[in-house]
């Protein structure tokens, strides 16, 4: 296991804000694999993922000082995700506009529980975990987009390629299902 550099990501962003290219490279090195994996799980088009990642890090480079100034207890990695998610939505909008094709399909999901996943159940909670697993895939996708990824209803609609009304309906159904499972 490689040694973790003493600077955390927030400090790196502050250095980038001062024009420190080495800090930028370090932030990229540390966060790009995670970002790539996460984005690829939301968009099946690798070319689009590459485009989004490039725009994201460029935005971080250009506006680091503004981000650093607004660090109100947020995490730098969280901001990077927020930028990336919004850029992904924008890129999907552009694709839809240009080619009149629906946004790229997501990779297929199959719900097959595995033994090793036990270790992480603690963080989600048994009942919640159970409820999540039993949730229909399309409902879970909406929940993931809105809660985990932090997108709005309209952005979720673009990401998933469904109308806004559908997103709202699914979000409501997901919430009801979870509430039932937890009560």
């Amino acid at each position: 296991m490689g040694a973790v550099s003493p600077l955390d990501e927030e400090q790196l962003v502050r250095l980038i804000a001062c024009g420190d290219r080495a800090a930028f490279d370090e932030l990229y090195r540390r966060t790009s694999p995670w970002l790539a994996v996460r984005l690829r799980r939301r968009c099946g088009d690798d070319e689009l993922v590459a485009e989004v990642m490039q725009e994201t890090y460029l935005a971080v480079w250009r506006a680091a000082e503004a981000f650093a100034g607004a660090s109100v207890g947020g995490s730098a990695v969280g901001w990077v995700w927020t930028i990336a998610a919004r850029r992904l939505v924008d890129a999907l909008r552009r694709r839809a506009r240009d080619a009149r094709v629906p946004p790229v399909a997501l990779p297929p999901e199959q719900v097959v529980p595995a033994a090793e996943d036990e270790a992480l159940r603690a963080t989600v909670g048994d009942e919640m975990g159970e409820a999540l697993r039993r949730l229909a895939p399309e409902l879970r996708q909406v929940l993931q987009a809105m809660v985990l990824d932090g997108l709005t209803v309209r952005e979720t609609a673009v990401l998933l390629g469904v109308p806004e009304g559908t997103v709202k309906t699914r979000a409501r159904r997901a919430r009801i299902a979870l509430r039932e499972a937890l009560s």
Binding site: F67, A70, V72, D90, A96, T152, R154, K168, R175
Partner: protein, 269 residues
Amino acid sequence: MARTAGAAETAPTTYAWTIQAERLRVRAGRRMAVDGLHLAMGSGVHGLLGPNGAGKTTLVRALATVLRPVGGTLALLGQPVNGRVDLRKLRQVIGYLPQEFGFYPRFTVREFVEYIAWLKEMPAPEVPGAVQRAVERMGLADRADDRMKTLSGGMLRRAGIAQAIVNDPQILLLDEPTAGLDPEQRLQFRALLRELAADTCVLVSTHLVEDVVAACTDVMLMDAGRLVFRGAPADLEAAGSGPGDGDSPAERGYAAILRRHREQAEDAR
């Protein structure tokens, strides 16, 4: 970053049209600039054409809630804006570019858009990211930290559009957005409009017929305070079949419809 999705956000939409007006009357000075206008707009890019003095700017101002109607009804996102209403929540999802776009010369583009973002009551942590995104979408990323007095007219207009979209609005009102843009910039602007058409209700008020035809999903023609035509750009062009003034079918259609409307008004008198 995880966030909670409130119940209000996912409540089903109860309204049919994003913008709906009936018998709308709005005063501008002493004139009744909008007089008995009916309107129903949903998502998409809507073009608003009309001669000077037709009341376009007054209508856009009424939709931006900076002018109160004196008659008729106006509802934005299902919420009526007559009478005493708290418009704060509504205005947070509206973006507006006035015809006379005033800016602060000594401010940088970023500072100006951040100020507007503050005025729009965007949550502070979101502002830098939203400003960067708006600036990049308008192609001003390289000039974001230059003072506005150093920008050309076209770039200033783009900065104006950037402030209008910084809060990712559901209603976008642009009054003469392409003034001063060169042809390449107009193409980029039309591309942006098409991008927004999917989930935003955009109203573009302009006197440039070609802009409307190229980028809008439907066209509205206004004269003397009322709508005299509503339809697809192709319908506008079809109305101008045959000889007439104008260099393009759309312009001929525009002139023909105006002429017909005025003749009818004359006959009615």
